[in-house]
Amino acid sequence: MAITMLYFAWVRERVGIGEEVIDPPEVVRNVADLIDWLSRRSDGHAAALSEPAKLRAAIDQRFVGLDAELGNAREVALFPPVTGG
């Protein structure tokens, strides 16, 4: 099923785009799987996603851990830890 990926801050810069639509295979079950699968799409993806410990995620606009199941996710975002305020 198609998922809209969103990237923010230096993740966006390294990937080279802020948004893309993907269709990962069934073996990609949780966010960590998705990061691993995405990192093989391009050198930019690899540069952005090589250290999952530095990444945070949201599924359908809610913060989740990297072990969260994708389920029927329609929108997944990857980004560095937030620094607002």
Binding site: V82, T83, G84
Partner: protein, 145 residues
């Protein structure tokens, strides 16, 4: 009454405080974050996650209204590019008693730091850098759990 705003326009502090005062409360507490002028930062750029940001700030304001006896809670966050001395964020609370207004104000800014999808980039003479999160912010937010 909750007010949440995520906007590239400058924050109008007088307007925000007046709206809180109009709630008829005895006390209004505010916190305003300003781009510092002292460490070589010429400009600050705030990126956010449109849609999720507004929802996260509303959830935060509602949590404060539930936890304290507030008459009003306001969160205004600027996004885009701003220069030294300009306001980044304003949080304000109105309550009958000062203790509630002050505690809720501290809560809002503490949790905003960790619970809303904003990313800061600093522009210096030599270029730009993404701001690293601070461990003390995570500790301050955890204090309210």
């Amino acid at each position: 009454m909750i007010r949440v705003s995520v906007d590239p326009a400058p924050i109008e502090l007088g307007v925000e405080v007046a709206a809180l005062e109009a709630r008829g409360a005895g006390g209004i507490a505010t916190f305003t974050g300003v781009v510092r002028t002292d460490d070589g930062v010429e400009a600050l750029e705030l990126e956010h996650y449109p849609g999720m940001t507004e929802a996260a700030l509303c959830a935060l304001a509602e949590a404060a209204m539930d936890r304290w006896n507030l008459l009003g809670a306001t969160i205004v966050h600027r996004v885009g590019r701003m220069t030294a001395g300009e306001r980044i964020v304003f949080v304000g609370t109105a309550a009958a008693h000062r203790r509630e207004a002050l505690e809720a104000c501290t809560y809002l800014i503490d949790r905003l730091k960790t619970d809303a999808p904003f990313w800061k980039r600093e522009w210096l003479a030599g270029g730009a850098r993404w701001v690293e999160p601070r461990a003390t912010d995570a500790q301050a937010a955890a204090h309210w759990l």
